[in-house]
C-alpha cells in the first residue's frame, strides 16, 4: 500500500513542480487556456519550453477539467480550451456554431489488474471487458477469461471492478469503447463522462482507481496509460478488431492513429476506438485543443499568440510527448491537424504566425 502511495507521488510531484516553474515576464501578451487535467502535465512542460523561445507570450493554463474548459470556451472567458472529450453538437451550437478541434496528443487507456499470483500477462477482449463491467462475468476463473488465456492458472477470486467516480474524458472514451464492442452496454449504459455503473466501486481520478485496484486481490480497472506506466502497474494486452493481442505502447497507438486517419471526419471529432490493423491498440483517445474558428472575440495580438502557441505544440512540441508518457501524433495525423489549424481566422482574416 505504501508502494502505491509512492507511485502516486512519482506521478504527481513532477506535475506540481512544473506548475510552479511557469512564471512569466510582465510585458508579454497573456493568453489563457483551461480544461483537461489529463493533459496538464505536458501542457505545463510545453508552456515552460515555449516561454524560453517566445518570451513575449505568456501562457496560462488552468486544469479545471474538460467540462470546465468547454464552458470557458462557450462563455468566451478563455483563449483556448483543452478537452479530453470533443464537444457535442449542442455544445458547439452554444459556443456559436463554429469551433476547431485539434488533437494534440493521444492517450491510450489500459486495463490494469491485481493478481499477484498470476505471472503471465493477461489477455482480454472487448466483449469480456464489457461483460465484466456489466456484472455478467464476476470471477477470475470464468471460462471466458480462461479461453483467452490458455495455460494461465487463474485464481478462483471475485473480480473487483473499479471505475472512475469523477466525470472524465477517460470514462467517456472507455464507455465509448464498450458501446462499440457490446450492444448490451450501448443499450443499458451508454457513453458519457459519467455513467450509471452496473457494478463496481468508483475511485476519484487515476490515483483513486489505482488505489482500488491495488488494495484488493482480484481488482480490475481502467487507467490512463501515462499513469499506469509511470506507476509500473500491470496491464493487460487487448485483442483488437482484427484479432491481434496488442500491448499498449507508443508504436501500437501510432499504428492505431494510422488506421483511422484515412477516414477521419472533417472536424476531427473522434476517438481511436477499435481501429483495425495488425498492430493497432484498441482504446485510445485524443486530447484536444479547441478554439473558436473565428477568434474575433479577442484582440488581434492575442489571437496571433494563441495560434502561434498551438502551432508550436502541434509541431515542435510533439517531441516532448514521449518523456511524459503521452503518445505523439503520427505524421499523417499531424498533417490533418495542421490543416485544421489553418482554418482559423480573426474577424474573417487569416493571420500569419
Amino acid at each position: 500500500m505504501f508502494k502505491a502511495f509512492h507511485k502516486f507521488l512519482m506521478v504527481a510531484a513532477p506535475a506540481a513542480l512544473l506548475a510552479i516553474g511557469t512564471v512569466g515576464t510582465s510585458r508579454a501578451v497573456e493568453i489563457s487556456g483551461a480544461g483537461s487535467t489529463f493533459v496538464a502535465p505536458i501542457m505545463y512542460k510545453w508552456m515552460k519550453i515555449f516561454q524560453k523561445s517566445h518570451p513575449n507570450i505568456k501562457v496560462d493554463y488552468e486544469a479545471i477539467g474538460s467540462g470546465g474548459g468547454i464552458n470557458g470556451l462557450i462563455g468566451k472567458t478563455i483563449n483556448f480550451c483543452g478537452s479530453d472529450a470533443y464537444m457535442s453538437n449542442a455544445q458547439i451550437k452554444q459556443a456559436g456554431g463554429a469551433v476547431l478541434h485539434m488533437p494534440e496528443v493521444a492517450g491510450p487507456e489500459v486495463m490494469s489488474y491485481n493478481l499477484p499470483m498470476v505471472h503471465k500477462q493477461l489477455v482480454m477482449n472487448g466483449k469480456l471487458i464489457a461483460d465484466i463491467y456489466l456484472g455478467e462475468v464476476t470471477r477470475w476463473n470464468d471460462p471466458a477469461i480462461k479461453k483467452l488465456n490458455p495455460g494461465v492458472k487463474l485464481p478462483d477470486l471475485p473480480i473487483l471492478v473499479a471505475h472512475r467516480s469523477d466525470g472524465s474524458g477517460t470514462t467517456f472514451i472507455f464507455t465509448g469503447y464498450l458501446c462499440k464492442v457490446s450492444p448490451t452496454w450501448k443499450k443499458q449504459v451508454g457513453q458519457s463522462t459519467s455513467v450509471n455503473w452496473p457494478v463496481g466501486r468508483g475511485g476519484k481520478g487515476n490515483p483513486g482507481v489505482a488505489a482500488l485496484i491495488e488494495k484488493t486481490r482480484g481488482g480490475l480497472g481502467y487507467l490512463e496509460y501515462a499513469y499506469a506506466i509511470t506507476g509500473h502497474f500491470p496491464v493487460a494486452r487487448l485483442i483488437n478488431k482484427d484479432g491481434y493481442a496488442i500491448q499498449p505502447s507508443m508504436p501500437s497507438v501510432i499504428a492505431a492513429q494510422k488506421a483511422v486517419v484515412e477516414n477521419l471526419p472533417a472536424d476531427l471529432r473522434l476517438h481511436i476506438i477499435n481501429p483495425s490493423g495488425k498492430k493497432a491498440y484498441p482504446i485510445s483517445g485524443f486530447t484536444y485543443l479547441i478554439i473558436d474558428r473565428d477568434l474575433g472575440y479577442m484582440s488581434k495580438t492575442k489571437a496571433k499568440a494563441t495560434l502561434e502557441f498551438i502551432h508550436w505544440i502541434l509541431t515542435k512540441g510533439q517531441k516532448y510527448a514521449k518523456t511524459m508518457q503521452y503518445i505523439r501524433l503520427g505524421p499523417a495525423m499531424q498533417k490533418k491537424v495542421l490543416a485544421q489549424l489553418a482554418k482559423a481566422t480573426w474577424k474573417g482574416q487569416h493571420l500569419s504566425y
Partner: protein
C-alpha cells in the same frame, strides 16, 4: 450595551472628549458588526438564489421524485437523477463519524485538560492543532492508500467473521428473497475497505481534532471553585470530571455541531474511500456516495444542461439540509442550555 460604558467612564473619571470618542467607537463597532451580520445574511441569500436559479430546470423536470429515487444516470438521453442514495450516504457517514468522534474527542480533551501532566499535554495539544490543519486531500490519499487497505484486510475482516452469522432480527429482504437479518446485514458483501464504514472512519479522524480542541478549550473554563467544591464533598476524580462535562455540555454540543457541519460538507477525503456508487444498502461494507462527494466528482464535467441543473439541485439539497440540521441543533442547544 451603554451601561458598562458609562460605568467604566465614571470609574476612570475620564475626560468628556474621551467619552465622546468612546461613543463613536461604540457606534462604529455596532455598525460594523451589524454590517457583518447583514452581509452574511446577504451572502447566504445570494448563494441560495444562485443555486435555486441553477437548479430551476431540474426542479421543473424532476420535481419531488428527486428526493424519492436513487438512480443517478447522467448519460445524455438517459438522464435520471435521484438524490436519495447520496443523502443516505451523507447521513450514514456523518452519523458514524459523530458516534465515534464525539466520545473519543471528549476522552482526548479530558486527558489533555485533567489527566496528562503538562509536559505531555502541551505536545498532544500541539499535535491536535496540527492534525486540524492538514488539508482534506491529504487525509483522502492517506485514507485510500493506507487506511482503506488496512481496514479491508484487518478490521473489516475481523468484523465480518464476527458478525456474518449473527442473525437476531429480520429487517428485510435482499433481491432474490433471502431474508436480511440484523446485525449480519451490517457486514453483507464482505470486507471491501471502500465503503460507508471507511467514509465514516475518515470523517471521524478528520473531525476529531476540531471537536477535541473546542472541548479542551471549554473544559479549561470549568471554574476552580466548582472543582474544589466537588472534591470537598468527597467526589472522585471521575465524578468531578462528569460535573465538569455537564457544566461544559453546551460548549461540547457546539463542538459536535461544528464537527457535524464539517462532516456533512467534506468532499475529497470521503470521495477517496467511500467507493462512489449510487446505491443504498444497510451494509456498512457497501459502497456509497455523499451529496458533497457527488458534487466534487461530477460537477466539473457535467456537460449538458439538465445534468448541470441536477448537480445544482444536489447542492441546493445539501445547503438546505445543512441549514435545517443547524437549526435543529440550535433548538436542541436552547433546551440543554442552563436558563
Amino acid at each position: 450595551m451603554s451601561e458598562p460604558t458609562n460605568r467604566s467612564s465614571i470609574a476612570s473619571g475620564s475626560h468628556p472628549r474621551h467619552r465622546f470618542f468612546r461613543g463613536v467607537l461604540d457606534r462604529l463597532t455596532i455598525g460594523l458588526s451589524m454590517g457583518g451580520v447583514v452581509m452574511m445574511f446577504g451572502i447566504l441569500l445570494l448563494i441560495f438564489a444562485v443555486l435555486l436559479n441553477g437548479a430551476w430546470m431540474a426542479i421543473g423536470h424532476i420535481g419531488w421524485k428527486f428526493f424519492t429515487t436513487s438512480t443517478w444516470n447522467p448519460v445524455p438521453g438517459m438522464d435520471k437523477y435521484g438524490v436519495l442514495a447520496f443523502a443516505y450516504g451523507t447521513a450514514v457517514t456523518t452519523f458514524i463519524a459523530l458516534l465515534l468522534a464525539v466520545p473519543l474527542s471528549i476522552g482526548c480533551a479530558v486527558f489533555i485538560t485533567r489527566l496528562a501532566p503538562p509536559w505531555l499535554a502541551a505536545p498532544v495539544s500541539f499535535l491536535l492543532e496540527l492534525l486540524a490543519a492538514i488539508p482534506s486531500v491529504v487525509y483522502g490519499l492517506w485514507g485510500a492508500f493506507v487506511m482503506s487497505p488496512w481496514l479491508q484486510t484487518h478490521f473489516e475482516m475481523w468484523m465480518w467473521k464476527a458478525l456474518r452469522n449473527i442473525k437476531w432480527i429480520p429487517v428485510g429482504h435482499y433481491p432474490g428473497h433471502r431474508t436480511e437479518y440484523f446485525p449480519a446485514n451490517l457486514v453483507h458483501g464482505g470486507p471491501s475497505g471502500s465503503d460507508f464504514l471507511a467514509g465514516g472512519l475518515i470523517l471521524t479522524i478528520m473531525i476529531l481534532p476540531i471537536i477535541t480542541a473546542i472541548t479542551r478549550d471549554v473544559l479549561q473554563q470549568f471554574p476552580e471553585e466548582l472543582e474544589q467544591g466537588a472534591y470537598g464533598l468527597g467526589a472522585t476524580w471521575w465524578q468531578t470530571t462528569r460535573l465538569a462535562l455537564t457544566y461544559c455540555r453546551v460548549g461540547i454540543f457546539g463542538a459536535a455541531v461544528l464537527g457535524m457541519a464539517r462532516a456533512i460538507g467534506e468532499t475529497m477525503a470521503v470521495v477517496m474511500v467511500i467507493g462512489n456508487t449510487d446505491r443504498i444498502s444497510s451494509s456498512l461494507f457497501a459502497g456509497g456516495q455523499t451529496m458533497a462527494g457527488v458534487f466534487v466528482n461530477e460537477f466539473l464535467e457535467a456537460d449538458h444542461p439538465i445534468y448541470l441543473s441536477a448537480m445544482m439541485y444536489v447542492a441546493l439539497t445539501l445547503l438546505v439540509s445543512a441549514l435545517l440540521t443547524n437549526l435543529a441543533a440550535r433548538v436542541l442547544l436552547n433546551r440543554i442550555a442552563p436558563s
